[in-house]
Symmetry: C2
C-alpha cells in the first residue's frame, strides 16, 4: 500500500496508480530458471576443469569499456556494439567479446606472458534466433595464451582444449576446421585482390556455410567491387579442403608458396598438423580454405569446431543439426595488444572461445527428451512435524543441522500438514526427513524417514546430528560409486 | 601489420595510424586479476555453500531490463540508473539491483513460492569510493524467500544466513541492526509527518550514521519541509536503540502501540527476537530505530549488518573501520511483485543481500598484511626437459597426463632452459615436476622432482600416469588433514 502510494508520487506519468508493465526480458535475452542453471553449472564445471587442467589463471573485466577501446577492432560487426546513453561522463559501450578487453588488460598492466580463462557475458545487437541458441546477451568461455612463444605450441594446445571439452560434454561427433590468415591473404593477393580490401573480402568468405558460394560470389562482386574473374579465382581456392595432403599440394604451388607469407602460413600449418598428431587429435582436424572467421584481428592460424552428428541421445524437434552450427572458435591475434600500447609493443596471443549457448540448447533438448530428473537444490534433510505447535522444536533441530554444515530445510508454516511436508520432500528428491512428534520427543527420539523407500527408523534426539551426518556420508559414497 | 592497416582503414578519425588510447577501465569499475579472483572464488564458495545449506535454487536474469520495469522502484536513487543508448528498439537500463528483476521474474512466470539465490553484478552511477569498496559495477549476493508464509519464519532465516556467512568469513565482530517499516511509519505519523511524505523523510533518516543527527535534521527541515518541532520529535524516537526491553517499552507507549500498524510492527519485532533466540543469534541482533534503508519497496522488517571490530589479523592502512560500513542488508517487500502483475496479485517476499565488494576489500587487505601465498592456478605437474629437442616427448607426456585428468603444464619453448622451467614451478607453487632427459628415456625412466624439497626420484616412463596419480592423491590427502 505504501509502495503503491509512493509509486504514484514518484512516477506522475502512470497516474492511474497502476502502471501497465510489459512483462518480458529485453529482445534477444532470457532468464535462466533453476533447471537451466543446474545444467549450466554442470557445463561450466566441465569447461573450467579443463581450463584449470591446462594451468590457466582467471580474470574478470567490467561489462562495459570505454567506447574508443572497442572501435576499429571488429570490422563490419562494429555496428552491433551496444552503447550506453550519454548521462554525463565517459562514453561507454558493452563489451562485444572477451578478447579485446583481455588485450586492453594486458597492455594496461604491461603483462607480456599470461595464460588465462574468462567466462562472462558479452553483448551483440544482432538478429537473435533464440530457438537455436543465438542471443543478444550470451556467455563466452575463453582460454587464451599470451606471450612470445615458439611456433604453434600454444596454438595446438588451444585446439586440444576445444577437443577435450567437446568430447567431455559428449555432444556427438565434431570436426575442427583450420585455416591460416596468411594463406588466405596470399590467396587474395594471388587472385588479384588489393591488400586494403583483404579484410573486407575475408568477411564475405566467412559467410560460406551459411550462404552458398553463388551468394558469396555475388556479394564479392556487387558489394566488395571484385571483378567476376577475381571472384571466380578465389572460389577455386576456397572450395578446397583436406588434410596434410592438401598442405603438401599447396606447398608445391609456386604462386602460393613461392615467396614469404604464403609459404610461412603453409609451413606453420604443416607443423600444426604434426603437433595435432602427437596430441592425438588429428582425426578431428581438417584444413578448410573457406574458413575465414569474421573478426578483423586474427593474424595467424584460425579454427572453428562444428558438430557433424549429434549423440544418439539428442533429437531436435526439427531434426536440424545444421541449425546449431559452430560451437567453438578462435585463432591467433598477434597485433591486438600492440594497438593499445602507446609504443605499439605487441604481445602475441592465441585463444579459443567456447560457444556455450548453443551447447546449452543441445543439452537442454537432450534433458527434455530423456525426462532427466535434475535436482535444482542440494538439500539433504527436511525437518518435518507430525503435530501442531512444533515450530520451535523444528527450528532448534534446523539450527543444529545448519551449524553442523548439513543442508536442511523446513516448512515456513507454523502448523504445516505432514502430508504436504512429505510431498515436498518427494517432489524435490530430498533423501532424508526427520519427523518429530510429541510422543517421540518425550521418549527422547525422532523418526528418520528415507524419503524414496518410505522406510522409517527411530534415532536418539541428542545424537541426531551425528546420526544424520553418518547417513549423509553413506549416501554420498553410494552416489560416487 | 595487416591489422594496423585495417585500423587505418576503418577509423579514418585516427589517421595518424596510431590511435591514442586511454588505458583504463570506466570510472568506478575495476579489473579483477588472478590473485583477486582466487580470493573472490573462496568468498563466493562460502556464500554459495551457505545459500545451498538453506535449500535455495538459483536463477540468472539479463544484465539489462526494460527501463519501464525499473522506474518507480528506487525512490531518490532512480537517478543513479544507467541507461542504454537509443539505437532503435526497446528502451533499456542496466539493472540497479537483483531484487526488482527477481520480482519481475516471479510475476512473469506466475511463481507464488520460491527460495532463490543469485550472485551477479549490478550497476549504479554513484560517486565511487573504490578505496573502501564502493564501485559503480559491483556484485550482489542475494538470497530471497518468496511466498505466503507464516510471520517472521522466513525473515529470521535470512538474518541467520547473514550471521552464518559473516561468521564463516571470519571478518571480525559484527552486529545486525533491525527495524520495521511499520514502526518507522507509525513514528512519522505520531510525530506529525503527512503520509505522502513518509518515504522521503525515511530516506533522510537513512543518512544517520554517515551524517550526524544535526545534519539529518537540517535536511528534514530545509529539503523535506518538516517543521523544526516535528523533526525534533522524530529525533527523540530514532536515536533510541536496544533489545527486547526497548520493544516492551514501546509496546507500553499508547501513541505508538495503541492502534493497528504500530502495534503490529512491535509484536512482529517481539516474535523476531524470540526466533533469533532459538537460532542462537540474538547476541548479534539489536533493535535500532534509526535504521531506515534507502529503497522504497520495503514494507516490513529491515536489517543491516555492520562490522564493529575487524578480526585482529586485519589492519587497514588508515585504520578506519567506519569506512567499511554495512556489509549486508535487506528486509521484507510484500508489494513489489504485485506492482508487476496486471491484477496486482502480490507475492510476499523477504531477502538478504551480501555486500561483497566491501568484504573483498577487507580480505584483500588482510591477505596483503599476512603476505598470504595464494595459488592462482591448480597445476599439479610441470613437464620439463633437461636437454634440447625434447618437445615431442614433452608433448606426449602432457597428453597422457591431461587425458588422465591431471593438471599439467609445460614450457611453450621448443628448447627451454631447465633452470627457467624449475624457477617457474617454484614461483607458481607447482608441487611436482617431471624432468626428461636422453639417458633416462633410454633406460625407460623419467625423473620426478618434488619442487619444494628439491628431492628427485626415478619413475618408470610407462607407469608415469599411475605413479603421478598416486603422488597427487597423497598430496591432496595431506592438504585436507
Amino acid at each position: 500500500e505504501e509502495v503503491t502510494k509512493c509509486l504514484e508520487l514518484k512516477t506522475p506519468l502512470s497516474d492511474h496508480g497502476l502502471q501497465k508493465y510489459t512483462l518480458k526480458t529485453p529482445k534477444g535475452t532470457k532468464d535462466y530458471g533453476p533447471h537451466q542453471m543446474a545444467i549450466r553449472e554442470q557445463v561450466f564445471d566441465k569447461i573450467i576443469r579443463c581450463f584449470k587442467r591446462h594451468g590457466a589463471e582467471t580474470i574478470d573485466t567490467p561489462v562495459f569499456e570505454l567506447k574508443e577501446n572497442l572501435t576499429g577492432k571488429y570490422g563490419e560487426d562494429s555496428k552491433l556494439i551496444y552503447d550506453l546513453a550519454d548521462q554525463g561522463g565517459e562514453v561507454l559501450s558493452l563489451r562485444y567479446d572477451l578478447t579485446v578487453p583481455f588485450a586492453r588488460y594486458l597492455a594496461m598492466n604491461k603483462i607480456t606472458s599470461f595464460k588465462r580463462y574468462q567466462i562472462a557475458k558479452v553483448y551483440r545487437r544482432d538478429n537473435p534466433a533464440t530457438s537455436r541458441g543465438k542471443y543478444r546477451e550470451f556467455y563466452q568461455c575463453d582460454f587464451d595464451i599470451a606471450g612470445q612463444h615458439d611456433l604453434m605450441l600454444p596454438d595446438v594446445e588451444c585446439v586440444k582444449i576445444a577437443v577435450e571439452i567437446l568430447s567431455d560434454l559428449n555432444l556427438g561427433d565434431f570436426v575442427v576446421k583450420v585455416n591460416h590468415r596468411k594463406i588466405l591473404d596470399k590467396i587474395f593477393e594471388v587472385c588479384g585482390v588489393s591488400s586494403d580490401n583483404f579484410r573486407s573480402v575475408c568477411s564475405s568468405v566467412d559467410k560460406l556455410g551459411q550462404c552458398s558460394w553463388e551468394e558469396v560470389k555475388a556479394e564479392m562482386i556487387e558489394e566488395k567491387g571484385l571483378s567476376p574473374k577475381v571472384a571466380e579465382r578465389i572460389g577455386i581456392y576456397i572450395q578446397r579442403n583436406g588434410g596434410l595432403d592438401l598442405i603438401e599440394e599447396l606447398l608445391n604451388n609456386e604462386d602460393l608458396a613461392g615467396n614469404g607469407t604464403g609459404r610461412e602460413g603453409l609451413e606453420a600449418m604443416k607443423l600444426f598438423f604434426k603437433y595435432c598428431e602427437i596430441y592425438g587429435i588429428s582425426d578431428k582436424i581438417y584444413f578448410d580454405l573457406s574458413l575465414a572467421r569474421g573478426l578483423d584481428y586474427y593474424t595467424g592460424v584460425i579454427y572453428e569446431a562444428a558438430l557433424t552428428k549429434l549423440s544418439h541421445r539428442t533429437h531436435f524437434a526439427n531434426g536440424e543439426l545444421h541449425a546449431v552450427g559452430s560451437v567453438a572458435g578462435g585463432g591467433r591475434y598477434d597485433n591486438l595488444v600492440g594497438m593499445f600500447d602507446s609504443k605499439q609493443r605487441n604481445v602475441p596471443c592465441v585463444g579459443i572461445s567456447i560457444g556455450i549457448e548453443r551447447i546449452f540448447s543441445i543439452i537442454e533438448a537432450r534433458a527434455q527428451v530423456e525426462h532427466e530428473k535434475l535436482r535444482t537444490t542440494e538439500t539433504e534433510v527436511f525437518v518435518a512435524s507430525a503435530q501442531k505447535k512444533m515450530t520451535e522444536e523444528r527450528m532448534k533441530i534446523c539450527k543444529e543441522l545448519w551449524d553442523a554444515g548439513i543442508k536442511t530445510e523446513q516448512s515456513y508454516k507454523v502448523n504445516p500438514k505432514l502430508l504436504d511436508q512429505l510431498h515436498y520432500c518427494e517432489e524435490r528428491f530430498i533423501p532424508l526427513a526427520i519427523i518429530i512428534g510429541e510422543t517421540e520427543l518425550q521418549k527422547g527420539v525422532v523418526k528418520l524417514r528415507y524419503v524414496m523407500s518410505r522406510e522409517e527408523i527411530e534415532i536418539e534426539r541428542n545424537k541426531l546430528v551425528q546420526e544424520i551426518g553418518a547417513h549423509i556420508r553413506t549416501f554420498s559414497s553410494i552416489k560416487q560409486t
